[in-house]
Symmetry: C2
Amino acid sequence: MILSPRYFLSILALLLLSNPILHAQDISPVPVPTASQLAWQDAELVAVFHYDLHVFDEEKYVQSKNRITPIPDYNIFNPEQLDTDQWVKSVKEMGAKIAILTATHETGFAIYQSDVNPYSMKALKFQEGKGDIVKDFVESCRKQGIEPGIYIGIRWNSFMGVHDFKVQGNSEFSKNRQAYYNKMCEGMVEELTSRYGELAIIWFDGGAHGPKQGGPDVQGIVERNQPNALFYHNLDRADIRWGGSESGTVPYPSWGTYHTPSWFANRGDSINFRPIKHGDPDGQYYIPAMSDAPLRGYNGRHEWFWEPEDEDHIYPLENLMNMYYNSVGHNSTLILGITPDDRGLVPDADVQRLKEFGEEIHQRFDNPLISAVPDKKGTLQSTSSKALKINEVVLEENIEFGERVRKFVLEGKVNGKWVNLYEGTLIGHKHIAKIPEVEIKAVRLKVLESKGEVKLKSLKAFLN
Amino acid sequence: MILSPRYFLSILALLLLSNPILHAQDISPVPVPTASQLAWQDAELVAVFHYDLHVFDEEKYVQSKNRITPIPDYNIFNPEQLDTDQWVKSVKEMGAKIAILTATHETGFAIYQSDVNPYSMKALKFQEGKGDIVKDFVESCRKQGIEPGIYIGIRWNSFMGVHDFKVQGNSEFSKNRQAYYNKMCEGMVEELTSRYGELAIIWFDGGAHGPKQGGPDVQGIVERNQPNALFYHNLDRADIRWGGSESGTVPYPSWGTYHTPSWFANRGDSINFRPIKHGDPDGQYYIPAMSDAPLRGYNGRHEWFWEPEDEDHIYPLENLMNMYYNSVGHNSTLILGITPDDRGLVPDADVQRLKEFGEEIHQRFDNPLISAVPDKKGTLQSTSSKALKINEVVLEENIEFGERVRKFVLEGKVNGKWVNLYEGTLIGHKHIAKIPEVEIKAVRLKVLESKGEVKLKSLKAFLN
């Protein structure tokens, strides 16, 4: 019996519907994102708020020192003007769609009402021990249409004596405390993933060692309580990929695919983080890169936490725009670190810069001079008839179908002839091609190589 | 110029009044107690309540295991019927004048509202994190005319990873955590000695290492905040002395003096604790012995904490009376360990036994058959004229002046002749002499040797 192609496709569709193991990815020529990864990449701009005891210690934060030095008095934590609405508003004005908060960082102090970690806001005089900044933050996000995410630091804990996942010492006592600490971490993950509604991402800073490495078993808890959240990350699973620097940029190309389920397990050459930065165009796992940087990372500092008199180190607008081009414009997500201060507010200077940044992005990219969507054949060509000067072209693939373009050329119609404006490999979620200023009557994208049928989304040209 | 003795004494009196370093002790032939030590010895019966997380864990307490194993879930602490009035009433019925509570024990958990130790009642769901059992306890004591004392355990902390005063590990991190832990201990001592009014005793279990030994500096805090409290104890100061066992007894004689300011620094032969048990009759420091035992120490168990189904191990009345003779009757203080249960109450069986114990003491000693107080010459001799059977004689020195009697004989007038009933060395606060039953018409104490002028208080004879 010979099956007609149509009949065969019907069978295939049935299989796809009935078999939960057989996903689109299994028959796609390239790996494809999950719905959560897609939403993450569509967000483009993400904020991560760092807040911990040492915001209040009036000292410069030195990570290597803070990791091994408990904060002498946790009651310094007293943000009298705490206003998480203001925090979220500040990043909404930048254009962030997702905002993440450090529920715990390296002190081990939990800025919520934990029932498993006594070193939490319950211990404070502030708000009579009833404060819950995670709750405040998540509510502020939802009110303002921002998706909240939670960052959990379990790798370091200066209070409990945990260094790089490991409780100090080598005795029976240490083993018991390690077991206790692991259980406490699992308890915090249970609390944080079950109390605050649906979350965009659960971020384990520095990764989360699992039971195989002597650490807590957190992955299963996240998967059970937050099946739609991005999991970032452990040695077995990483839904996004660190871009290999804290500069807010990734190089070009930075493929969204990787050769192992977690980049964290297989970083390769650790000097220049090449595989992390560039990804693996032939990798079978979809793990798009993110580009993180603290807003206060300019001019010799790199501050994830607020410190007194550090306004001079807020990145100038020009630097932020450069990040934008080299993160969002490089198929990556820009994650900007925001530092609420000891009053409990994002400082005015930071608020102002975030606003300027958001306005500048709108200013540059809201109104393309030329805009094209794919025609029936899937090709992209503008139809403008009058001559226009352009110097930037923004390309987008429909990455629901993965990163299929492998080589392309941008051509412009200059003086009646198609000329080569730009050549590239990856497009992915977004690629901003900077080109020398040129006057064209039309612009088109020619895909020279691809994996499977090309699924383009849009082409927009600007003079910026 | 020759000074008359009278003039010389006036000068001396002036010196005594004006010079805080020159105490009565300096001119006494023997060391004398402070007012607080005197009150402590007059109390005779003291209760110490142990309460901690593992009361709620439904397991048998094994100290060596518990010291190195954090309690998995501190929210098991949930004494729903908590009633410290009932606790205090139970020991008042025994006759205790002082009651002590473990504010912290070896888990490190603080059963009060600490602002320096987050592992405290603030962390609990119980009483919405507002509970303060130290406060409840102290108030219950004051209401019932019992003097409260506080016990602070800093030598072990299974939560923080502290073993025998020492934070685990040997790294820079350990050093920093040791400094943090020491400061936290000082903070707790500051809180406990400043928040709850005047206390009879501050008890550091297992002693308190000081800065010289790498520990916290707690002695100065106690001396500043509770100048009248007994300090028990560190290597430099111990106002009372452990009697060398947890049997509720000391051997005879057990002198109230010692050769160093802290018995803890100089325990001598550690096998049989001889110097601790017997004291040093020539020691220049007044450090009277106490005799501690848990009420549930009978028949193969020795429980300072409540455990399920342990009523069979409550000491029978006979054993408690034996303790009484060998502690109070041996110039020592009996400290009985009481175990409130997981409901928050002293169990009925314990309450009943304490009541019986108190009644038995009253029954035996409230109504002496013969009673004598010193005559003008300071000698003790009864004046009864009719023949009485006796088998116990209770002797008391006025220890305000120290332990002056060094050798004595008790004589009874039997058939018109004084016969030797009993010979001894030490009397001190109280000595109960058990003698073969004898019918006498009078009884008298003859001091054979003394240091300085003898200061006797009373002689009472009983038939028990």
